[in-house]
Symmetry: C2
Subunit: 256 residues, 2 copies
Amino acid sequence: MSENPITQVMLNRKSIRRYSHQPVSDEIIHAIVSAGQQAPFASQLYSVLLSRKKRHAFGAPLLFTICIDAYKISRIMEKRNWKIVSNDLTLLLFGIQDATLMAENMVIAAESFGLGSCFLGAAPYMAEKIAKQYKLPPRVFPLVQLVMGYPAENPSPRPRYPLEFTLFEDEYPELTDEMIERAMKQMDEGYIAQGYYRKGKIRIPLENDRPETYTYDNYSWTEHISRKWGQWHRSLEEILNQLEIRGFCLSRAERN
Amino acid sequence: MSENPITQVMLNRKSIRRYSHQPVSDEIIHAIVSAGQQAPFASQLYSVLLSRKKRHAFGAPLLFTICIDAYKISRIMEKRNWKIVSNDLTLLLFGIQDATLMAENMVIAAESFGLGSCFLGAAPYMAEKIAKQYKLPPRVFPLVQLVMGYPAENPSPRPRYPLEFTLFEDEYPELTDEMIERAMKQMDEGYIAQGYYRKGKIRIPLENDRPETYTYDNYSWTEHISRKWGQWHRSLEEILNQLEIRGFCLSRAERN
């Protein structure tokens, strides 16, 4: 396969869950954020909050909170005698993309300086709390957090679906049982061979007193992901409420 | 500022709106998608559709349609006797992120091989049509399209907000009028100096017969963005309907 120094860095990326004490200079932080800023945004609907007063998850020196930001643009539009009339779902659809483009660019830029990072996905469910902590204005929603620092571990890149399960030409093919099983096998055997769940002591408990029948010998990626989407976040209310507290309304009734 | 060959490529990125006839090899396409695949996904909730039978927007030889994909994971979960119980908004929140992480990684990987790209943002509003074209199964939603190819133009990177308007430490500051105006000035003077709207003959018409008072001498980024969010996509129904047609329901009423 064709490679170059940049795709090599991308192919070698993995989430880092142990960090050294080496501090990260302001200069490197600014370089990472500046590189992030050149992503192909819809409308720069994002802001980045940094916390480095203490060590964060996995001992990381830096915690970035990447937010969807509809506040800055409304302040700008106000100066031009405009106001936002677009519906909030559309605004969020582009805001999530802008914030994620920024986050991924920061991940790659960090790798290029020898730093590692790891996404923490719980921010949307703690939006109200995070908003208080960082004094976020209305219409700024914390989408994802990113810890960053110099790595104190060097795991292998994690398995991914086969290319045939990712890239489709002209039409989405009928996914045969064989294709599904090949994708599952590549993910599951890969994660088990790396001892990912065993080393991290990561296993999502079964709810409703269902007895555990898996050990770290067979607890795998597809089992892990199944337990997430098969058990978690049943409530639409929870996430709608967090969005509403932050000033985004997706409800038909309240709009009509 | 600290730089390296990777951040230099990132800082030099700009959307390309004119492409050469040079074809892109399968090998390069696979390398770009493979590099994309190592992004830090929540659950690989995405698929990439490629079309290259004809030339696409801006004469680009490649058109990628990057989709949120909750279908593949449901097929996998079925094989493990699980089904998705998480609410669709949560699923979309992570699906949009996964698809965007992929898209941005592909943008950077493309740059590293000397290719250019440009996002087309209208896909969510044409979801039903795109789904028919590519025979997308239910619960696959086209988030963004990306044209790609060898560039036949080399514009300067586009202006961005100042760092002081993007990165905040410990708390979101009160944004003073001076900060807002500095950010506007940097964007507006930068775009006008590059002749971006003039060269592209890009100007969003004013609705409701409001008379045009701007020329390409003063039509700027903040004016352009104000006309988007101040006029477009008023209807929540339109985007909710596209999501519902594709099998995603965000409505409280229908859930309760």
